[in-house]
C-alpha cells in the first residue's frame, strides 16, 4: 500500500486505498494480485501487475526504449535531410563527357586527356553552318575576351570546336574555318565512328540528310550547346543558344574562382 507521500502514488488511489476491497474496484491493485494487503517489502517487490516494481520497471524500460528509438530515427532523418540538402546543389549534374579520340586541325591525335589541366569550352558544329555555329563561336570568343581581361581567368579556358560533319570537315578545312574566330580555338574531327562516339558521350544530337548526291551541299542538324569542362575533364555546365556571352563569362568566372579557391591550380 502506498501512502499519499509515495513518489509513485497516483491521486485516485487515495480514494480506493482502504475503503474498497482490491478485487472489486481496483483493476490494478498493487498488492491485490499477490493477495497480500499491506504485506511486507518482499511480497511487494515480487508482485506483478502494472503498478508493481516489475510493472513500473517494464513501463520505464519501454518508455526509455521508445524515446531512444525516436531519438535515433530523428537523428537519422535529420542526417539524411542534411545529406540530401547538399545533394540538391549537384542534382542537376548530368553524366556528360568522357573519353574521346579525335584529330586536331594540324592532323595530330587529340583525346580528352589532351585538354586536362585547363578548363575547356567545347562547341559542336560544322563548317558549312549558315548562321548558328558562327554566332555561337563568336559568342564564345566574346566571353573569352571578357575573361582575358582578368589576370585570374586569363587563358584559363581552352575553346574547342568539334565537327558533327566529319565526312566533309577535314583538319585543313577546320584550320581555315577557325581563323575566323578566337585565335585560341582548337578544332577536332575524325572518322565518323570517332565523332559519333564523342557526340554520344556529350549527349549531342546530330543528323545528316539521308540521301545526298556526291558533291551536293547539305546542312547537318545538330543540338546547339557549349560544354564547360573542368581541368579534371569533368562536366561543369552547359550553355545553350539563349545564354549571352556576358552570362557565360560570368558563370565561368565564378566556377574558375571556386576551383582556385579550393587550392587547385590551372596549367597556363
Amino acid at each position: 500500500m502506498r501512502g499519499p507521500g509515495h513518489p509513485k502514488a497516483l491521486p485516485c488511489r487515495r480514494a480506493y486505498s482502504t475503503e474498497q476491497p482490491a478485487k472489486e474496484k481496483e483493476p490494478v491493485g498493487e498488492s491485490g494480485n499477490s493477495g497480500n494487503k499491506g504485506g511486507g517489502t518482499n511480497s511487494f517487490l515480487l508482485s506483478t501487475g502494472p503498478l508493481s516494481p516489475i510493472g513500473i520497471g517494464l513501463f520505464v524500460l519501454t518508455s526509455a526504449g521508445i524515446v531512444y528509438f525516436f531519438t535515433v530515427t530523428k537523428e537519422q532523418v535529420r542526417a539524411e535531410r542534411e545529406k540530401n540538402k547538399n545533394k540538391q546543389e549537384t542534382v542537376g549534374k548530368a553524366d556528360v563527357g568522357g573519353p574521346f579520340e579525335l584529330t586536331d586541325q594540324d592532323g595530330n591525335v587529340a583525346t580528352d586527356r589532351t585538354f586536362r589541366g585547363k578548363f575547356a569550352l567545347i562547341y559542336f558544329g560544322f563548317c558549312h553552318c549558315p548562321d548558328i555555329c558562327p554566332d555561337e563561336l563568336d559568342k564564345i570568343g566574346d566571353a573569352l575576351d571578357m575573361l582575358d581581361r582578368n589576370p585570374k581567368t586569363k587563358d584559363a579556358i581552352q575553346p574547342v570546336f568539334i565537327t558533327c560533319d566529319p565526312q566533309r570537315d577535314s583538319p585543313e578545312d577546320i584550320k581555315q574555318y577557325l581563323k575566323q574566330f578566337h585565335p585560341r580555338f582548337v578544332g577536332l574531327t575524325g572518322s565518323l565512328d570517332q565523332v559519333a562516339a564523342t557526340c554520344k558521350a556529350f549527349r549531342v544530337y546530330f543528323s545528316k540528310p539521308p540521301k545526298v548526291a556526291e558533291g551536293q551541299d547539305y546542312l547537318v542538324d545538330h543540338s546547339i550547346f557549349s560544354y564547360f569542362m573542368d581541368p579534371d575533364g569533368e562536366f561543369i555546365d552547359v550553355y545553350g543558344k539563349d545564354k549571352s556571352a556576358l552570362a557565360m563569362a560570368s558563370d565561368m568566372e565564378m566556377r574558375i574562382g571556386q576551383f582556385l579557391d579550393a587550392g587547385r591550380k590551372i596549367q597556363k
Binding site: 549558315p130 558562327p134 578545312d173 575566323q180 558533291g215 551541299d217 546542312l219
Partner: protein, 84 residues
C-alpha cells in the same frame, strides 16, 4: 574533296546574311507569307539571296521563315479562338 562546296568566309557569310535580311524585309513589308505564291514582288532580292548564299543556306533560310510564319499564324488563330 574538290567536289564539295567551299566553306564561306566571314565576309561571304555577311554578304549572304545582308541579302537574306533585305529579301525577308521585303516579304514582310509586302505581307507575303508564302514566297511561292508571291508572284514577282520581291524577286530581284530573291535572286540576290541565291546568288550570294550557298543554295542549301538560301533554302534553309526560307524554310526557317516559313516555319516562323506558320507559328505566328497558328498563335493568331489560337488567340482568336480563345477570345484574346
Amino acid at each position: 574533296m574538290s567536289e564539295k562546296t567551299p566553306i564561306p568566309s566571314r565576309e561571304e557569310r555577311q554578304q549572304c546574311h545582308l541579302a537574306r535580311d533585305a529579301y525577308l524585309a521585303c516579304l514582310d513589308k509586302s505581307g507575303i507569307d508564302d514566297p511561292s505564291k508571291a508572284g514577282a514582288a520581291c524577286d530581284g532580292l530573291r535572286q540576290k539571296v541565291f546568288g550570294t548564299c550557298p543554295e542549301s543556306w538560301a533554302t534553309y533560310f526560307l524554310q526557317l521563315r516559313a516555319m516562323q510564319k506558320k507559328k505566328e499564324r497558328d498563335m493568331e488563330q489560337t488567340a482568336k479562338r480563345l477570345g484574346h
